[in-house]
């Protein structure tokens, strides 16, 4: 019973899966991504998790795994279908992402990717996603793999200050002006954006990423790639998402990282307080830091997706389910979270401030997702 109690989601929804995270991370890079799953399961991705589906062409497929293929382990058919499609479509790479069925049959994604690469001559990736983790985990695997495979040439650093943006998908940024505002803010501060992994940059831009002086990790899904690039090229990284007054702090952190070569996590250092933010860790942390900066009120966050406690302030936590979240909400006066979290506030007498999150509620509240890059004033009015 104790396990059940700790895995309940009686009132709240669930985050987009790790499989969707892989597809979303790779969507704009010119590859071909195959979800290895039963036919029909692709609609979860293209209907709920991919706002670019109707406006931006990308080769995302489902393998249409059948019951007998799963039972009989007929990997040969999958490989043959993929190789045949790849020869026709000529993608820049091939990626196969897992789901619960291949996880249970012990499908070896890396080995299958090796076979596809051997037969097509294209770079091929196998991601052992299984639908039991959030999109952050899948996107992190995809970003790390792309960095590992395509960011290999050690180029000279740019003469002026420059960054790569790591960890950008619509599941965190939606398709509003947020990411563009972040790029403009960097430009205004004299910081060039070399590449963005992976919205608005093609593979040729991403291949030049080693020339950036600093990496800016916009969501937790970009951190593994940042660590790899630091190991490979010595590039320091800064973790945080430009958000109201916290944007200024972030710009200073980027400049300091360039000077000192040291990494920075600008939003750490919170204390438990009256405002709780639930969401993806880097965004929630950055918003908490902005609120503290602009109002002097105590704000802290709970990362409801995969996160690293090394990035925490002392009050911040990873809280994935209702049993963990309820006590935190009970101790707060204001909860800022996706609208689908509102039922958790019932009877608690606290103020709920909606902050729609594409990776949680999909398209339902998309038009209400704000661009908080430059100003969080509209949010502050609701506190």
């Amino acid at each position: 019973m104790s396990n059940l109690k700790n895995q309940t989601a009686a009132f709240i929804s669930t985050y987009a899966s790790d499989t969707s995270g892989v597809c979303s991370a790779l969507y704009e890079l010119g590859g071909m991504t195959i979800m290895h799953d039963a036919s029909g399961c692709n609609s979860t991705y293209n209907t709920h998790d991919e706002p670019r589906w109707y406006d931006f062409d990308s080769y995302v497929f489902i393998s249409a795994l059948t019951e007998m293929e799963a039972i009989m382990g007929d990997d040969g058919k999958l490989i043959s279908d993929i190789v045949s499609a790849a020869k026709e479509l000529k993608p820049k790479f091939v990626a196969v992402a897992g789901t619960p069925i291949p996880m249970m049959t012990g499908f070896d994604f890396k080995a299958i990717a090796n076979e596809i690469e051997r037969q097509t001559g294209l770079p091929a990736f196998g991601f052992d996603t299984n639908g039991m983790h959030t999109y952050v985990s899948g996107a992190a695997k995809a970003f790390r793999a792309v960095a590992d495979r395509f960011i290999t040439d050690k180029l000279g650093k740019t003469s002026g200050l420059s960054v790569n943006l790591l960890g950008a998908t619509p599941l965190d940024f939606s398709v509003n002006s947020s990411l563009q505002s972040a790029k403009e803010l960097l430009t205004e501060n004299g910081i060039e954006t070399v590449s963005c992994l992976a919205m608005g940059s093609d593979l040729s831009e991403i291949r030049r990423a080693s020339s950036a002086r600093v990496n800016l990790v916009l969501s937790y899904s970009g951190l593994d790639a940042a660590k790899l690039l630091q190991k490979r090229f010595g590039t320091p990284y800064v973790v945080g998402r430009p958000c109201g007054a916290f944007g200024k702090r972030l710009m200073a952190d980027i400049k300091a990282a360039d000077r000192t070569g040291k990494n920075a996590v600008g939003f750490a250092g919170s204390s438990e307080g009256d405002i709780l933010i639930i969401g993806e860790g880097v965004f929630a942390g950055s918003l908490a830091a902005a609120i503290r900066e602009e109002t002097g009120r105590k704000a802290f966050f709970a990362s409801a997706t995969e996160f690293d406690d090394g990035l925490f302030g002392e009050a911040d936590v990873i809280a994935r389910d209702e049993a963990e979240l309820r006590p935190l909400i009970g101790k707060s006066r204001v909860l800022i979270a996706d609208p689908l979290y509102k039922p958790l506030c019932r009877g608690m007498g606290i103020r709920f401030v909606p902050m729609p999150h594409e990776g949680f509620s999909g398209r339902i509240f998309r038009k209400d997702i704000p661009d908080l890059t430059r100003s969080i004033a509209p949010l502050l009015e609701q506190l």
Partner: protein, 253 residues
């Protein structure tokens, strides 16, 4: 680090053979790890002589556990691990092997213990994806198949060899050879030679059908520990040397 997976028909003597080979190599000063990949969790029992929680028991308990909780040190310092498996009659044993081996790697077992030799002692045949895990990239480099001259053992060996051949483009372990564990059946040598010819492999060791093995088992020990001067102990030592030679380790090393 030499990593070896041993397959063969159920009951053919894989665990006994692997435990004795592990003991023989440990006796020579090598650091050996033996990982039982069978829900019965009895691969290393002759080496450790005491109960040990399996990796999957620890995972299932839901509490934090360390790498040390997953192993026990047996005869000659052999590092003993049992993958374990689901509740009998439910769950998925093959998927359990994957989860256990992943957990072992995640906890840093190979970096922490730095074994010279790792044996994966795998349940029976390569019946599903889970049981091919020990031969996947990053795990074993060589597979050895144990068989007798009994028809069912030969068929199982041929199936395993076919699976290895089917995986040749995936970067999996290659077939190191056949070990004959005699049952003294009719035309035993001839049938095993025919198997080797059919699958394009060679005989790398021969073990007699000896009562010494059963006597040592009765004592809960390997032959190497219980009857170190016996002819059977010599046969196990010769087999261990042969395995090392095929894996590229010279006698001097």
């Amino acid at each position: 680090m030499i990593k070896i997976a041993v397959y063969g028909k159920g009951g053919i003597g894989k665990s006994t053979t692997v435990a004795n080979a592990a003991a023989a190599l440990a006796e020579k000063g090598l650091r050996v790890m033996q990982i039982g990949c069978d829900p019965k969790a009895d691969s290393t029992v002759l080496l450790r002589g005491k109960d040990q929680p399996t990796v999957l028991d620890l995972v299932r308990s839901g509490r934090d556990f360390s790498l040390d909780d997953m192993v026990s040190i047996g005869f000659g310092g052999v590092i003993c691990v049992e993958a374990g498996g689901p509740t009998p009659g439910s769950g998925c044993a093959g998927r359990g092997i994957i989860a256990a081996l992943e957990k072992l790697a995640e906890k840093g077992a190979y970096e922490e213990y730095k074994p010279d030799v790792v044996f994966y002692d795998v349940l029976g045949d390569v019946v599903c994806g889970g049981f091919s895990m020990p031969m996947r990239q990053g795990y074993a480099d060589r597979v050895f198949i144990i068989t007798s001259g009994e028809n069912m053992a030969i068929h199982a060996a041929a199936n395993i060899a076919m699976a290895i051949d089917g995986f040749k483009n995936r970067g999996y372990a290659s077939l190191g050879g056949i070990i004959l564990n005699r049952r003294d059946v009719a035309r035993e040598d001839e049938k095993v030679a025919e198997l080797c010819s059919d699958i394009g492999s060679g005989l790398v060791g021969v073990l007699s059908h000896s009562n010494t093995v059963a006597q040592a088992e009765e004592l809960g020990k390997t032959v190497i520990e219980a009857f170190p001067q016996s002819d059977m102990a010599k046969q196990y030592r010769d087999l261990a040397d042969s395995l090392m030679k095929i894996c590229g380790v010279s006698e001097d090393a």
